[in-house]
Symmetry: D2
Subunit: 303 residues, 4 copies
């Protein structure tokens, strides 16, 4: 199967490698000519056999919009664009409509996995018509981890549903991280508890709270007990904010995820809380998030 892939950065580049290893014929484009297989989008399109499939993996917002705009002028009726970046779900409806005016199909996909994805595979949450999702299934199968398909891939619903599910995934992530962080801070405060890192590590097997995030806390504490090298300063990505705003819009009570978000806002106002250090450490462990080390102070950019 042939696929055009636009955006060969940290995420897109790794995804290209994983797809190629699985036998997908990927033609990649990037603004960086050292990474790119073609000189521009026009050449990319010319190298793909119709009906074409093009995966967009560029920064959400303006960059994605300009790529969609340009593809709208280059692709033909029956071609299919899938946005795998971190776009807001509301952008998907807009892009679907804009491309549909030219007979071009559209689908969206939330991608989870970060720096670990190249080796372990990416979890995929897709939105779009049955036909379009079916059409891209070889690509999804190439990207996802080994194991049963439904444990790392879902067709969540209509266009936008993929990014929506990924957005909620991130909201849940905020709440889980804050829960571990609060537990961490209390354990650190209690005199009779002498070995907090050992406690977190001992939760790896057999407990109710075992999880990947728990393993990340344990790993961070193993390297730096007391988290003395980490600032209690945690940024937020748009997805947490959107999750809370959607909950408000739909009248869904969301005390925990909103509280997690607000603690991040609060951490930016200068606090140095142990819990926020733990959240920062978890983010550091799962990669892609710079941690503000002691002495520095800067804006942490989310991917």
């Amino acid at each position: 199967m042939q696929l055009g892939l636009i955006g060969l950065g940290k995420m897109g580049g790794n995804m290209r490698d994983r797809m190629k290893a699985a036998g997908i014929d990927v033609i990649g484009y990037d603004t960086n000519p050292e990474l790119s297989d073609v000189k521009d989008l026009k050449e990319l399109v010319s190298k793909l056999e119709p009906p074409r499939n093009v995966w967009v993996m560029v920064p959400a917002g303006k960059v994605t919009q300009s790529v969609i705009d340009e593809l709208g002028g280059l692709l033909d009726k029956g071609d299919l664009v899938i946005d795998g970046g971190n776009s807001k779900f509301t952008d998907d409806a807009k892009h679907e409509k804009e491309l549909a005016e030219k007979g071009i199909e559209f689908a969206d996909c939330g991608v989870s996995g970060g720096v670990w994805g190249k080796e372990n595979g990416y979890a995929l949450m897709a939105g779009g018509s049955n036909a379009n999702i079916e059409r891209l299934m070889p690509v999804f199968d190439a990207l996802r981890p080994e194991g049963p398909r439904d444990e790392s891939f879902c067709h969540a619903g209509d266009v936008g549903a993929g990014h929506y599910v990924k957005m909620v995934h991130n909201g849940i992530e905020y709440g889980m991280m804050q829960a571990y962080a609060e537990g961490y801070e209390l354990l650190e405060a209690k005199e009779i508890v002498k070995d907090v890192p050992a406690a977190f590590k001992a939760w790896t097997r057999g407990t109710v709270v075992r999880s990947w995030l728990q393993e990340l806390v344990a790993a961070a504490l193993d390297k730096d007990p007391g988290l003395t090298q980490i600032e209690g300063f945690v940024n937020d990505s748009g997805e947490g904010r959107w999750t809370v705003q959607e909950a408000v819009e739909y009248g869904v009570p969301m005390p925990v995820i909103s509280a997690s978000l607000f603690q991040r806002f609060f951490s930016r106002q200068g606090t140095d809380s142990p819990a926020m250090k733990a959240v920062a450490a978890m983010r550091n462990e799962f990669g892609g998030h710079a941690v503000t080390k002691k002495g520095e102070k800067g804006v942490v950019t989310d991917h």
Copy 2:
């Protein structure tokens, strides 16, 4: 190694089986003569070679206190009692003092694993002196899951630290469950999302939110999409309350775990929220917690 085990109920009985399978010479006592190896505590003590080790696995509070009292009159200097029940950590300090007056040693252990523990092993969080924890290590090794010791066992600190770490573990569990539940409710509310069970299942591999609890939600949704057979009614165990009260005592901000606890309180006042159904379903899945089915309405007892 020889061990006296007091309490052969759902937890204690399974633990006996697992320890015996690992070669520990367990002599068990239970008030139910059909389960018990001996007719009373006196006979139990007489069958153990000094210095004796006695594991207490009975309901926290009055029952544990009366067993400690009786053991205080039966055991000899140098014997060791370990409380593996759900005692509050403040009880541990009291029991340690009471037994120390008679030269009897004391340790405590938080045990996680529920109905899954017999087969998979129990996670263990121990508190006490180095000598006492070392002395019981063959027992801990028999109970815990396979794999590196430090991934399911910790010596958390002084007497009380084992139960304290287990208490915080449960507090974290509340927060994680609520985070998933809030995400579930929002996904259910959103029109473009058509397959919420598939979304939860797709988070099993490769995502940041993968965890045992996430698998439990997925399993519950697989059986009953929409959770139509479950009341949004969730009880709380003492450990969640103690966690929040300790946080308040120590000046530790705990917005997420407290919010999770309060939503449980609130659910008892008659709500029928999707999120609380999801929490109830998770508890059902990990066992030991009766779920209030539609039409029933009753007090759910925590273990």
Copy 3:
């Protein structure tokens, strides 16, 4: 001074009476001919001397938009429209722009006071240019309570700022109500406290928590100790939701106001909490909000 007033319902009608009593020459229009002084907006405009001042006091959203649209076609350059309804601040910027294209001035005003305003006066939060606010000052002075102007009137900022300040006012109101409600529920739960209504009433003079809302709780408890005739079911108005969404947009931690909003969402899912009864009772007392009485169950519409 002459003023056109559009919308003579519960709020607008009372405001007309208060303005007339203060000597403002009000010409009112309402779709209900029994209330209206003129047969349509065209006649209203014809009866006003240029430069005209027109106060719009109709439901936010579509109705306000259609009035603005129609006024845009009827008014002349230099005329001034002020929206005193419950419009979202984002509508103000739009209306300002639309009218500016025709040389018509625009201002906005949040109005607080409800059913008590006719007699006691309305608190006013205005947004717009200095010139426009100055121009309407006789109207503001007619509407506001006796006392120093700055204790019931502010020129909060640019167009939209009036509605914005009123929106935040409502968000704060949610938080205050929930604080009293939580205190109420705890007092009701405590055995040694025998007279909760007396406690709330005794806070009227000399305490830190004295307020109008506190007096309303006391009044409600005086009529119905135990709030036995009230359902714990509380709706929310758009303004609470907008407040939280704005906080999320601006990265402002808002744990208390968001928690208050979420408890209202939660109360709609079937709870019967004492705290939510107290919130419902307060809303009942300050008027304009139907309370769901025992046995009924319906949507409570906010003004």
Copy 4:
């Protein structure tokens, strides 16, 4: 009426003045001889006609306990002690029991009013038997503000209920302050809002959020718009913590008051949030709370 008054500090001294002005024959004792009417408690007791009434107004905890102990040895059967300090309600039950063994009566009273009380009067929340409260009514009437008795005095219930109601009063106060503070921070963040101090002041008459605390925010902003001279650092008193711990004990959902408490905890970890500055400013305004000014950093002691 004759009254022994123990503790003539900031609160007790002002209360003595107010009671004397109302015709109560107060004999005061303080460890500071310059303030005291008698040289010790023995002399105090000797100067009072039996049956004696003694009001204790000393720091909660150890100091109150030692005064209760000493009075137990000096007073006679039928004498009455009332604790008007900031004791925890659990202490009241203990003190009642200890004195009852000697036939001495006991009552408790929460007192609100701070530095404003001498002139304006103190709000009083009393606990005890009907007979004892009736017996002290001339004292209560002397202390409370002018106006109907039930607007500043209540007999809340049994011994302990007075302090309990005062404790909940303080918890509600936390929630209210945080609500205003969150609103303040959002208004400060919004570009179109140009005059935040004017907004707060304009809420004084006719609004739903008008209150004494609102007037205090307005006064603080009048003096220091932007609150540039205040650190966002807010301590908590025991009463807020006890309120949340009681809520947890009784299964009462308390999301708002707990969130307010946690934000104070969080503020001590080094944040510099506008909302916390606003809370600090309110506390400063109502007196008795030192504010941490820029450049200082210290523990703020609650009264």
